[in-house]
Symmetry: C2
Subunit: 243 residues, 2 copies
DNA sequence: GAGTGGTCTAGACCACGGG
DNA sequence: CCGTGGTCTAGACCACTCG
């Protein structure tokens, strides 16, 4: 009865995973070569390769040419977060999405922002501050700076009707991004905006996105920051994922 | 001179990425089929498949049989965090790792812990509290509960010399995990342990791991929580990643 | 030097799902 | 139905790196 089902890369992956979980192959152990496993499972070597490659990408296996494949000593688990548009994050919870612009203006960015965005001393930028609402209650406060040198078209956009978040996703190319998670204390203004108490601990996400000059080979030197955004979530926010 | 370099899946992936970034193929657009691209790049179809599969996994493309491959409308970016053992997280910064046990005891878990771990009303569990140090300064406080029903061997371990974190990674099978990020306010005890001021906002990570009864097909019903840990980081901690 | 993983090819069959 | 992606096969060559 065993020869009936067709061998697929997932079959192999499941069996290998099982043997690791069952400690048949222990951390640090060398497991059979691709060719040996292919013979055992009676499938092509590339099928085994596909199965093991994914396990190596997720950190379960450690593969090196000539050295062979070992069960990872320290199974560094990898957590994956989907970073959707805020509208999606809110509607996904079943709540109604709302948006309220707080301020949009061309201004001189403060020094820390100027430094983070690598802007010249006299460069002006567009600041957009807005609240994203879930069922009419404040969900997250967005404090964004947009580099007008990189996205001049942003200056003419009416951000009372569309969030900077969504406009940028659709209209600005970006090739690289950074995300930083942290915790911050609610000051008086944040507390008022988010309906929190001053002193509350708030979850905070900072994003920066770059455009590595299209087509240019001079990589990160020529990169310019397109936008920087600080998202401060309301009290009690939790970001969850599975391993 | 163009025919000189061998076509590889990465060549194809780079070119497809370039066309998307350059808006040659715009969000929502149907791109050529695998067969067409294989003809264009003069390579095997499976090579194109490999290239596009990765882009689909990262959310850049949306692929459906018969419907073809489209550029994703909402480029949901995916942030990946490596969750290493704390020792690695600390030594990776160049700091010296240190560990100090605060408390290890078999005890009655408080009700919230009992609920989160799906423990019976009379079940006892092992609590392990410890500080992880970077260059002798508190880096993170670990407040952990271990289900002795799932990992009885934990009861005999001397957690003064090895952290529960590391012991469990090496000795406990787990098949599924959950990670939750949040922000919390430092109370008097946390402030003292972490060298923070009471009222500071602290970054907090909660982890739970399950063992889905090995081999059983009754999946998540039969699962038991192996351990739950709350990691509270010192003030100013930031978790960073690239998109 | 030689063993191991990384990848490509050409052809084939299958599964899904749009029309 | 039938086009499209998903996968398998057998063979081949290459790149890395350990011994």
């Amino acid at each position: 009865m065993t020869g009936k089902t067709r061998i697929t890369w997932q079959t192999v992956q499941d069996e290998v995973s099982r043997r690791i979980k069952a400690r048949i192959w222990q951390p640090g152990d060398l497991i059979p070569t691709e060719a040996e496993l292919a013979a055992e499972f009676d499938c092509a070597r590339v099928t085994v390769n596909r199965a093991l490659r994914e396990l190596a990408e997720t950190g379960v296996l450690d593969r090196r040419r000539k050295a062979g494949t070992r069960v990872a000593e320290h199974p560094t688990r990898r957590a994956v977060f989907d970073i959707p548009i805020l509208r999606q994050e809110i509607t996904a919870t079943g709540a109604r999405y709302g948006y309220a612009l707080v301020r949009a203006a061309v201004a001189d960015p403060p020094v820390p922002v100027r430094a983070a965005m690598r802007l010249g001393a006299d460069a002006r930028a567009l600041t957009v501050q807005a609240l994203h609402l879930a069922d009419d209650r404040p969900f997250v406060f967005e404090d964004r700076w947009i580099n007008l040198g990189a996205v001049p078209a942003a200056q003419t956009v009416d951000f009372t009707s569309i969030s900077a978040n969504e406009w940028l996703v659709r209209n600005a190319v970006f090739s690289r991004g950074e995300v930083v998670f942290s915790a911050t204390v609610a000051d008086a203004r944040l507390a008022e905006l988010l309906g929190a108490a001053p002193g509350d601990a708030l979850f905070c996400v900072d994003r920066r996105t770059w455009d590595d000059a299209a087509g240019a080979d001079a990589q990160r030197e020529a990169a310019q920051v397109i936008t920087q955004a600080q998202l401060t979530y309301g009290p009690g926010y939790r970001l969850r994922t599975e391993l």
